[in-house]
Amino acid sequence: MAQDDKPLLLMIKFQNLTKIYNTQAGKIIALSNVNLEIAKGELISVVGKSGAGKSTLVKIFTREEKPTKGGILFNDVNICALKGKKLQEMRRKIGVIHQDYKLLADKNVRENLCYVMQVVGVCDSTIDKDVQKVLEIVGIENRICHFPHELSGGEKQRLAIARALIHRPEIIIADEPTGNLDVYNSYEVISLFKKINEMGTTILLLTHDKEVVDSLKKRVITLDQGKVIGDDKKGRFIL
């Protein structure tokens, strides 16, 4: 269980992380010398307006993008230098909930969850047990045979959370998990994150929703124009 007063192991270190996009309109600095440390078991909100650099942070972490300068140490390994099989293994240790869900459209709910386990060669009997358990945790066990296009926004979000959770990742990164949800679903999703964090999983929650941040009362990192302008352990939203 993650508690602020207990000494925590360092898990992730962002070192001078910079990302510059070269566009036809000129250079865009998405991240500028970001230096952060995240301990194992923390639940951190990363807040900022649209365009602050939150999603870029996720993309670099998952290696969808490469940084212009700097790097990220994940369990003392520089993930920006990883290639091939090592990169695949790293990705299996993190669970990502994307803003646009990124569900597999031609697979139903069960198959979307199974896929993550099948990728690493887990046997079918283990997969069946874990899928059932995770669906019950997120509360969509009655939609097991439905395809993503048949689910509501809230259900898609739950499925995305379930997929991020099922392979027991060391860290879950959630990019605007309540962005497309109503108040009731948002509350349920945040409660789910609290429960997952209590089980020991590190969570990085990227959001611009003040109410979500305030309800968590956990560490808040504030980004603005690609820079870290605040790191508040008392959970204050300063934007």
Partner: protein, 303 residues
């Protein structure tokens, strides 16, 4: 390893089955590939048949003088048989046999038979009927026969009279074969391009799926494998569908083709070569689909 392989097969089949409209489009395009292969095969078969038929009608006849001995004529035949690379067959027709052939040919024509009975001495000369393997070889045979003129047994050789026809036939058959090859290569390249682009567009439409699969840590082959399986399924389906339709057409068209192409029996040709044709269709479409799928998916796997 076996588990992952089974899963790749399953995902490939599910992808093929669940994206029915996409699958049908690709199957249709691959049907064009099958059609091209079959057309090249048919062109070759019909072409070879017509060429063979034409070549069979061409030969050289050597007519011997009346006083030539049978021994001398048969010696010449033996001399010709030695040229195994050029001479396909040499038939000796004696005067008596030539007479019998004439009577048989004109047995229903009283005018010719009456004219023959009026002639007091045998009008027909003994001859050698020489067939070469190809029209281009008659010139060599003619040269050899000219070298034998000193033996003074040859009355005439029919080559000089038919030379123009033979040369033209040789020119046409060579060019038909060459045109067939060039045309075949041209069609093949065009079809390869069309198929590659179709599969590339198919994979493009699934690029989000590929990206998501990469982000959850799937290996390149775990992502690429199902696309390869789908390509194989497209290929097999297109061959089956095309061949079913094709066989129906052949049964319907065979009679007409025999009339048009000098008794060319396509059903007989397919019975003896059908297996090779199907094998060629499968190999070409599977190779084409697999390579296209491999190259097209490479782009999205670089992330």
């Amino acid at each position: 390893m076996l588990t992952i392989f089974k899963r790749i097969l399953k995902f490939g089949f599910l992808g093929f089955w669940r994206n029915k409209s996409l699958s049908l489009q690709v199957i249709f395009i691959m049907g064009v590939v099958v059609f091209s292969i079959t057309s090249i095969f048919l062109f070759e078969q019909v072409g070879n048949f017509l060429i063979d038929q034409s070549e069979q009608k061409v030969d050289i006849s050597v007519y011997f003088k009346k006083d030539a001995t049978e021994e001398a004529m048969l010696n010449l035949k033996q001399d010709l048989i030695v040229f195994t690379d050029q001479v396909k067959s040499v038939d000796y027709i004696s005067k008596k046999e030539a007479n019998e052939i004439f009577i048989e040919k004109h047995k229903d024509d009283k005018f010719y038979l009456e004219a023959l009975s009026q002639v007091q001495e045998e009008p027909f000369l003994a001859s050698l009927n020489i067939k070469a393997f190809s029209p281009g070889q008659y010139a060599f045979i003619d040269e050899f026969l000219q070298s034998k003129e000193s033996e003074n047994i040859i009355e005439k050789v029919s080559y000089s009279k038919n030379k123009q026809v033979i040369d033209q036939l040789f020119y046409i058959t060579s060019n038909v074969k060459r045109a067939g090859l060039v045309g075949g290569i041209g069609i093949a390249l065009l079809v390869i391009l069309i198929t590659f682009n179709t599969i590339k567009l198919t994979i493009l439409s699934l690029r989000d799926e590929i990206t998501t699969s990469r982000l959850v840590g799937a290996s390149n082959w775990f992502i690429r494998g199902p696309f390869l399986v789908q390509s194989i399924l497209y290929a097999v389906a297109s061959v089956i569908i095309f061949d079913v339709i094709f066989v129906g057409f052949i049964i319907f068209l065979n009679a007409k083709m025999q009339t048009l192409f000098l008794d060319f029996n396509l059903v007989t040709v397919l019975k003896s070569n059908g297996l090779y044709l199907i094998l060629a269709q499968l190999v070409c479409t599977i190779l084409l689909g697999s390579i296209s799928s491999f190259l097209a998916s490479r782009r999205y796997l670089k992330m």
